[in-house]
Symmetry: C2
Subunit: 420 residues, 2 copies
């Protein structure tokens, strides 16, 4: 079979382990030089393809590529950029094909969430239509864990571990201060649409009375009165109360709690997230001293406390994507299939791009306790293995030794520029 | 010499390593059973002494006590409670003496910051005056690193490491998204009075262009115009800008930036910290998309990423305190003396409680760059060894295995109660 180049791009919000996937792709491709020429990465994701700004990963040493496995963020740059439909903007797709043809790209690996797999899907359709063969393989990634079909998404396990560890630690802190100081701690976590990350916070507590005492999910309409009563009860029983709130928590009318806050002198919406809103609500009602935290990017970038399971799965997805391509597959993506809970076992399966494009997987209702403030045993069984194992990066001078690649550009071959 | 009991208490905000100090105290005392009977801990710090609510640490196994070395927070409870002066409230001091006498306490170990050492100092004076001999030994602790005499304070190195690691990770994230998304990231760190923690954020960057690009110290009056110009320059040059802001950052008139925000419909001050204020200021001026994080307690509780140097020093301070007591010393506290930068070497020294009580150590001006936005080489030389080394806790099921002690109460001997 002829030897062709590969294109790899990272898409959407980055994670602690998306580079582990890149590592899996590149290392596996390098083992098959008879079939795969060079792996070109898109600088800033798909934008790099549109603007013919490709990175030649063959210029990186084996050691540098291996270091991607322990480096968070997107080593080649990612982007928030969704291609329009072919009907709306066929020029974008024609440009992609033009760039791919110019650089003899026969493999398209797109590492992202549901939106991105929609793009992969379109590219695969177009390639067929235009008679220019490209094997399009998606690779799952999202901290939100909301992709369908796959048991879980690479990126989620590490954010879940970060959130569970952080809540456990902060809870120990608050508990030891509660007698004379802070009684309520509110931690805001990511997940605008689905409560998977908030649910992971629930893993912090293993016994009756352990924090977090209340979880606020986007899936459960916020009820102020019931919430405040629960907080009061916790402070009374345990001496303190830890709340884990999803950024997507909302009222019954769909309005985000984060939007319920104040406006400033200029009429701007309050600057903060949902944590300060919830903390202040408690203060107004009960007078408890509070602290709150918003981890924001810290949670999805926290490679220092990544889940070993997550790192391994992220790498395996990258490797599987290349193996699928070598087998001649297209328009599919590898997924994680859980074969056993105890002991936790998983294997690699696959699904079609069409089945995952633009679809979100919500938390099942039976993962949330009846009162809406906690997670069920079923949820724990699902989540627990995903945060298991530590996979520490190497350190120099007390700091994690993350790689910054050279990211050497591939010489352009096209005379035309493309405006995005 | 006669055998007497010891009293140990944790005071003020807890840290990732104050329990390592407790471990040092208890393990060392247990090696000297001929001289030290039982170690009683105050439940919730000095409150436990005032209310005769003592914890019998002899009821804990050697294994449980050893586990304190890797457990954050205050295992016996801490408190924010400053004793008044003897003139103002002599009853408090008389009560302490009464409790100590009732439980045959001859050693008083007080683990805290400057305020707490003021208390230790007063107890030592009173013990002399009342003719009831107690050896009063302070033990330094504070994440703020603002105690005088000692080269650094146990608790600081770990928060410094957390902040530097977190900023490095978040910066990698922002950098990979900046082309089409977030261009500015603002991280708020602790340190209301001194900029030590903010300075530690500076360690995240080692090369020109590395984040953090701007540090806002409490020691440097905030200049809006210069700050905004600097942010703009960074985004232009590097494509993104990471700001590390101390919660104590303030204007030239002394007003905190965090107080400069909006008020809500009820006239309450804005709920957020300083990070959202700074982020919004940038958005208003330049229109950049931003994200911000407030780590709050997460930073001081983050035992999972504690500095090995810090853990060792925290333990050594506890051990030294007991050794000082056994040598008959009183009214002193152990301190860390740096004897060499390269290689980093330190030894244990001592100073008097009088010299540290109620005094704060500010950042020297020559630790901050001339423009006020960064740290100097001198500052790096000072800070670098304090975050060095990792000291991971053990994990079970993907979570750090922190100890919760039994905290068995010592039977009360006094008929009287004391209201605090």
């Amino acid at each position: 079979m002829e030897k062709r180049n590969a294109f790899y791009a990272q898409s959407g919000g980055v994670t602690a382990v998306i580079n582990a996937t890149a590592c899996g792709v590149i290392e596996t491709a390098r083992k098959h030089k008879d079939r795969i020429g060079k792996v070109y990465a898109g600088r800033n994701g798909i934008l790099g393809a549109l603007t013919e700004d490709l990175i030649d990963t063959s210029r990186e040493s084996a050691r540098a590529i291996a270091a991607l496995k322990h480096t968070p963020s997107g080593a080649f740059g990612s982007c928030r950029y969704k291609l329009k439909s072919i009907e709306e903007n066929s020029a974008q797709y024609e440009r992609l094909m033009e760039v791919f043809q110019a650089h003899d790209i026969g493999y398209f690996f797109y590492n992202g969430g549901g939106d991105s797999q929609d793009t992969s899907h379109k590219v695969s359709q177009l390639s067929r239509k235009m008679g220019y063969p490209i094997q399009c393989i998606g690779i799952p990634k999202t901290v939100d864990n909301d992709l369908p079909v796959t048991d879980n998404c690479p990126g989620f396990g590490s954010v879940a571990k970060y959130v569970a560890v952080s809540i456990r630690e902060a809870a120990f802190d608050v508990k030891s201060m509660a007698e004379t100081s802070t009684k309520v701690f509110v931690m805001e976590v990511m997940g605008r649409h689905a409560g998977w990350i908030a649910a992971a916070g629930g893993l912090a507590g293993e016994n009756e009375g352990d924090a977090p005492h209340v979880i606020l999910f986007p899936e459960i309409a916020f009820d102020r009165r019931r919430f405040l009563a629960r907080v009061k009860k916790c402070v009374k029983h345990y001496g303190y109360c830890v709340v884990c709130v999803s950024e997507g928590a909302r009222f019954a009318n769909g309005k985000f709690l984060a939007d319920a806050g104040s406006t400033d002198a200029f009429g701007h919406k309050q600057l903060g997230g949902v944590a300060p809103v919830v903390a202040d609500m408690i203060k107004q009602a009960h007078g408890y001293k509070y602290h709150w935290a918003v981890a924001d990017y810290l949670q999805r970038a926290a490679r220092h406390i990544a889940s070993k399971t997550d790192v391994e799965q992220a790498y395996a997805m990258g490797r599987a994507a290349v193996q699928f391509a070598l087998r001649g597959e297209t328009a599919i993506l590898p997924v994680i299939v859980r074969t056993s809970n105890k002991p936790y076992r998983w294997k690699i399966g696959s699904t079609t791009l069409a089945r995952v494009a633009n679809r979100e997987k919500m938390m099942p209702r039976n993962y949330i306790t009846r009162d809406g403030f906690g997670i069920t045993q079923r949820c724990r069984t699902y989540l627990a293995p995903l945060i298991r194992g530590e996979a520490y990066p190497p350190y120099s001078n007390g700091l994690p030794n993350y790689i910054q690649l050279k990211n050497t550009p591939v010489p352009k071959k096209l005379a035309t520029k493309f405006r995005v």
